[in-house]
């Protein structure tokens, strides 16, 4: 059984990493031709990135947008998940479907819809919103909230509510229970939701395209522009740099805050004991 598990997991990693590895290999290719095995290694496409300020500024914009969207989505999504999974909320499943279904709107449709709204707002005498970060940020928030809400709700559903009841019966107030019992319990879901929200925002192209202005060029848009001009490994190089930068940021964050560990080893043992106590 464990062997079968390992084989499937290896297959999963093959599916996950085949395409990105091919792109990374291509980034080091000496020419624009993709060769297996490579005829040599070259850094010329990385050097060429210095001529591509839009790619670099796009990466910075996307990182900020992604972090901002993830943080804002946590602020909106965690309370929603609490309301949905603790206590009996009438129409709970419908509310969950309403929160999640905007995900099924194609970026083109949602982008044009938000553009229409902002345009009508401006025509009615409001300030011109298109070209600012507001519609773009709001759109990214809309598509990231569901990931946080759903992940946190799932985590809360998987956790035994008895733990909270015990805390309450031991005299803890509602807020104390929330911060010291409920949220730590939902930590795996919070982390999964935050990571999902970040990558969803970071990778979104269609919305950014329709709500883009000169000031809001995100990385996917800048990549689209670069590919449209010349089809050489420059784009593979910026993608490689992106992964390295983001991985470095994640490692640093992990060192200081343990964000990538869905649950830290020390606490796991403690909760294991706590879980077996009752």
């Amino acid at each position: 059984m464990v062997a079968a598990l390992r084989v499937l997991a290896a297959l999963a990693y093959l599916v996950l990493l085949a395409a990105p590895l091919a792109v990374i290999l291509y980034a080091f290719s000496p020419t624009a031709a993709f060769e297996i095995p490579p005829s040599g290694l070259s850094l010329r496409w990385f050097a060429a990135l210095t001529d591509q300020p839009r790619l670099i500024s796009g990466l910075v914009t996307s990182l900020w947008l992604g972090f901002g969207a993830a943080a804002a989505a946590l602020a909106c999504g965690i309370p929603a998940a609490l309301a949905l999974s603790r206590g009996s909320l009438p129409g709970r499943n419908i509310v969950l479907a309403v929160l999640l279904s905007p995900l099924s709107l194609p970026g083109l449709v949602l982008g044009l819809g938000i553009l229409t709204t902002a345009s009508a707002f401006a025509a009615a005498g409001g300030p011109a919103l298109v070209g600012t970060f507001l519609p773009l940020g709001a759109a990214h928030l809309l598509i990231t909230i569901p990931w946080v809400t759903r992940s946190v709700a799932a985590s809360l559903e998987s956790a035994a509510p008895e733990l909270e009841e015990q805390a309450r019966s031991l005299g803890a107030g509602p807020l104390t229970t929330l911060f010291l019992v409920t949220l730590p319990t939902a930590r795996p879901g919070i982390v999964a939701g935050a990571v999902s929200a970040f990558v969803i925002s970071f990778g979104n192209f269609a919305l950014s395209l329709f709500l883009a202005s000169g000031r809001t060029v995100t990385l996917p848009v800048a990549i689209f522009e670069a590919v449209d001009r010349y089809q050489d490994p420059t784009v593979a190089a910026i993608s490689t740099v992106t992964i390295l930068v983001t991985a470095a940021a994640a490692v640093v964050a992990d060192r200081f805050a343990g964000v990538m560990q869905l649950r830290g080893p020390a606490r796991r043992r403690e909760r294991g004991r706590a879980g077996s106590a009752p």
Binding site: L5, A18, L141, S155, F205, F224, S239, V251, S276
Partner: protein
């Protein structure tokens, strides 16, 4: 679990619902209004009202496209469950730095733009790429998978596998090792332990991950467009063509609303299933 516990109240839903109302409600309202015009190029300018745009979804190539899209989405969901569960189990058992590394490895493909990853797949699946070279080394003729449904399925699976793994790992992580140990000490085999204990407890994660994967692959555009060639037409490619090429915005709006409806129904179903299963699991 039969008694009603007092919840933190629906007020907590306010921020999330406000965002949906402010950002999505108006576009969806516009969709409804647009869909009610008679279909055809620039028809929304004529102002003629009809339900014909919805009827247009049941004729021509659209039903076949819708069936293919739903099939692709279901297959993608199934593939991510089968491939994602083992990774999630290994991930939830890992500790410390090793765990961080695995999480990073799982998420890293998503840091690459969809367009770039699609290009990576053409390098891997092309007859002149990795797959073709591999076949040639085996003494077989060079062949590739580009521009087939299989290529789209593979790339969609790749795109959504990380989300399934994250959702499952978060859910599996909530299962106390003590529960598994208890089941084992009561004489359950590893298989029984998995089927009777771990699997039911991971249902919320499975449903959460499945919802995302299904809805996401249902409404995917770039991957099918870049890897599916001209043959693998999907729901959103159809919407894109209606908007951009045929200017038939009423039919495009009707197709978008239909997509929204299918997704909302399945999401509500999943939420109900997940809630009841977890309620039952804890009620026992």
């Amino acid at each position: 679990m039969g008694r009603v516990r007092r919840g933190p109240g629906p007020l907590l839903l306010l921020p999330a619902l406000a965002v949906v109302a402010l950002v999505a409600a108006v576009p969806v309202g516009l969709l409804v209004r647009t869909a009610l015009f008679a279909p055809g190029a620039f028809a929304e300018l004529s102002g003629e009202t009809s339900l014909a745009s919805f009827a247009a979804l049941f004729e021509g190539p659209f039903p076949a496209v819708a069936r293919r899209t739903v099939r692709l989405a279901l297959l993608t969901t199934a593939a991510t469950v089968v491939l994602g569960y083992p990774v999630a189990v290994l991930l939830s058992r890992a500790r410390g730095g090793w765990r961080s590394f695995q999480t990073l490895l799982v998420v890293s493909p998503l840091l690459m733009s969809t367009v770039v990853r699609a290009y990576g797949w053409t390098l891997v699946l092309g007859s002149q790429g990795v797959l073709g070279g591999f076949l040639e080394n085996l003494g077989l003729p060079r062949a590739g998978l580009l521009h087939t449904e299989a290529a789209v399925l593979l790339a969609l699976t790749e795109s959504f596998l990380p989300f399934m793994i994250l959702a499952l790992a978060a859910s599996l992580d909530r299962i106390e090792p003590a529960v598994i140990e208890a089941a084992r000490s009561l004489g359950a085999s590893p298989g029984q332990t998995f089927l009777r204990v771990a699997l039911p407890l991971s249902v919320p994660g499975l449903v959460a991950g499945g919802s995302f994967v299904f809805v996401g692959s249902l409404s995917a555009y770039a991957t099918p467009a870049l890897l599916g060639g001209s043959e693998v037409r999907t729901w959103v490619r159809e919407i894109q063509e209606l908007v951009m090429i045929r200017f038939d915005w009423p039919t495009a709006a009707a197709a978008s609303l239909a997509l929204l409806l299918v997704a909302a129904l399945l999401l509500a179903l999943g939420a109900a299933l997940s809630h009841r299963r977890s309620a039952r699991a804890f009620g026992q």
